[in-house]
């Protein structure tokens, strides 16, 4: 049996692309003929990825299954709508357009179109959110509750394990006992970088000047970058804030290994995969408890609901310095990570396939 996954932009390090690849690995292992298509595959990390127009040739095969990943407006939604085969719709969420308005009309337009189109995509056999938050958004725009579910993102643990260890970078970051506070995510306005910088300032200025804020993620909005650079300069944090831009997996691993705290001030997240990565690297998490974040954290980590710099700076210090608290938080996160372990997600994937009549293996058959 053939299963086709269609996405928009397939790129290295992108959470949606990683999810597509992880699903593909399982499907292939279970004996399905698994294909991947994208609208833009120029930077795809997957050799087998094909241009989405090639999917047009098979969209009428009634025995096949389409898994359509929706994370941004893309004209290949037409293929999804025209497909005459079983369809699973996976919603990765789309950032509300308002976040981009002051910075970039193109991304604002893309997000607005993406959200406006969502109700028209409800015609599927099963709609899956990558978090309960996303599933609720689907229900709110008219997707059928009885044909909906949650399939969390796969954490690519194997990829991290395989990535080269950048010992020199880790030592360099830890040199002189500097405390490293980390956030991972593309440098976009919904990720709350202004709040991150302000929070770091409060900690750095009033508690520990031997500290560094490491911001790992692609910079792609010149006007937003300009604002962030100006804020860093205005607060005198030039030497303490490091924007790495996009980095190879080995470097990302080093930043996680050197981090003392994962600080997330995002105002909108569908899932926030870096939270899982921080759990995996045993870094205590302090995150703004909004949108998809509380669903991903479950009972783990520490969440904040108001931006009080003094209180949060003191809490950051406790999470970094208080060994007992740190271990308790990490233990909670490790337990949460086990709930979201790839083997569990694999079971959910198989259940989703069975729900649309695809003979996926039962749980015991999937375990290695």
């Amino acid at each position: 049996m053939r299963i086709h996954q269609v996405g928009s932009v397939l790129a290295l390090g992108d959470a949606v692309t990683n999810h597509i690849v992880e699903i593909d690995r399982r499907l292939s292992r279970w004996g399905f003929v698994s294909a991947i298509y994208g609208a833009d595959i120029a930077a795809s990390p997957v050799d087998k990825a094909r241009p989405d127009r090639e999917y047009a040739a098979v969209l009428d095969n009634p025995d096949d299954l389409l898994i359509y990943h929706y994370s941004a407006y893309c004209d290949n939604h037409v293929l999804y709508q025209r497909a005459r085969q079983r369809k699973i719709f996976i919603y990765h969420n789309i950032t509300p357009a308002e976040f981009f308005r002051p910075y970039d009309p193109f991304y604002e337009s893309l997000c607005r179109r993406g959200r406006a189109l969502l109700p028209e995509l409800a015609g599927c056999d099963l709609a899956l959110g990558v978090s309960e938050y996303n599933r609720q958004e689907l229900l709110a725009v008219g997707f059928a509750a009885e044909r909906s579910g949650v399939l969390p993102l796969f954490l690519g643990i194997d990829d991290f394990a395989r990535a080269p260890r950048r010992e020199q970078l880790v030592q360099q970051l830890k040199a002189g006992g500097v405390v490293n506070i980390l956030f991972v995510g593309k440098v976009a306005p919904n990720k709350g970088f202004i709040d991150l910088i302000n929070l770091f300032y409060a900690y750095h200025r009033h508690i520990n000047p031997r500290s560094r804020l490491i911001l790992v993620g692609a910079r792609f909005l010149p006007r937003y970058d300009q604002v962030l650079d100006a804020l860093v300069a205005r607060l005198g944090l030039g030497d303490a804030v490091l924007f790495t831009n996009r980095v190879p997996l080995g470097d990302l691993k080093a930043y996680y290994e050197a981090a003392d705290l994962f600080l997330c001030a995002s105002q909108h997240e569908g899932f926030c995969a870096p939270l899982l990565e921080a759990m995996y690297f045993r870094i205590p998490i302090l995150a703004r408890g909004v949108t998809g974040v509380p669903y991903t954290l479950g009972r783990a980590g520490v969440q904040f609901h108001q931006l009080n710099y003094a209180i949060l700076a003191e809490l950051m210090a406790m999470l970094i310095e208080d060994g007992a608290l740190r271990q308790q938080v990490i233990a909670g996160q490790t337990a949460r990570l086990a709930e979201l372990a790839p083997a569990r997600v694999e079971e959910q994937l198989a259940a989703a396939l069975r729900a649309v009549g695809v003979p996926a293996p039962a749980a015991q058959g999937m375990l290695p």
Binding site: A57, P105, L110, R234, A300, L307, A310, L325
Partner: protein, 188 residues
Amino acid sequence: MSSDQTAPVEPDVAEIIEIRDPEVDVEAIMARVRENVALRRAQGAYQEDLDAIAQQVLTSVLEPTPAASVAEKARDPLEAALAELNARCMVREMPFTSRAPVIGPLIVAVRNFWNWMSTKWYVLAIVQQIVAFHLAVVTAFSELVSVQRALDTEVRQLKALSEQQQATIAGLQEELRRLRSSDLPSRK
């Protein structure tokens, strides 16, 4: 008490922080946070209004100065047009489908065959030429917008420099006037 009147009103920590893990003594943490904030505030910490500073930065970067506003007004429609071009530049063939029951697949097969016979090789080549042209337009337009942005920045920087130099000149002229007037008695 007078000290209460001057101390900042600290919001309830429990409304700010949420720890769901039952293994963590949340009350003890809240108490220590409160205590540490009070201690550091007493030493003069946390006085700056970081939200106001961020707002100033946002305003200075995003809101155009009066001199730049003409250029900004001209640029916004350019950026909107660029967004539109980007969103619509790809023209792609889409498959023919039919929702007709039973005979639908037959209609699709006949239509696909007819499309293949009559137009595919002819139209597809034209579509590819159109897409190539669209992409060239988008690229050229993007470059123009980039150049425009760079020029705006340069104009703003030059204007700021010019204002700075005018202020320096004015200060020097004032200083010169003051020195001349203070020299007058000795000359006499």
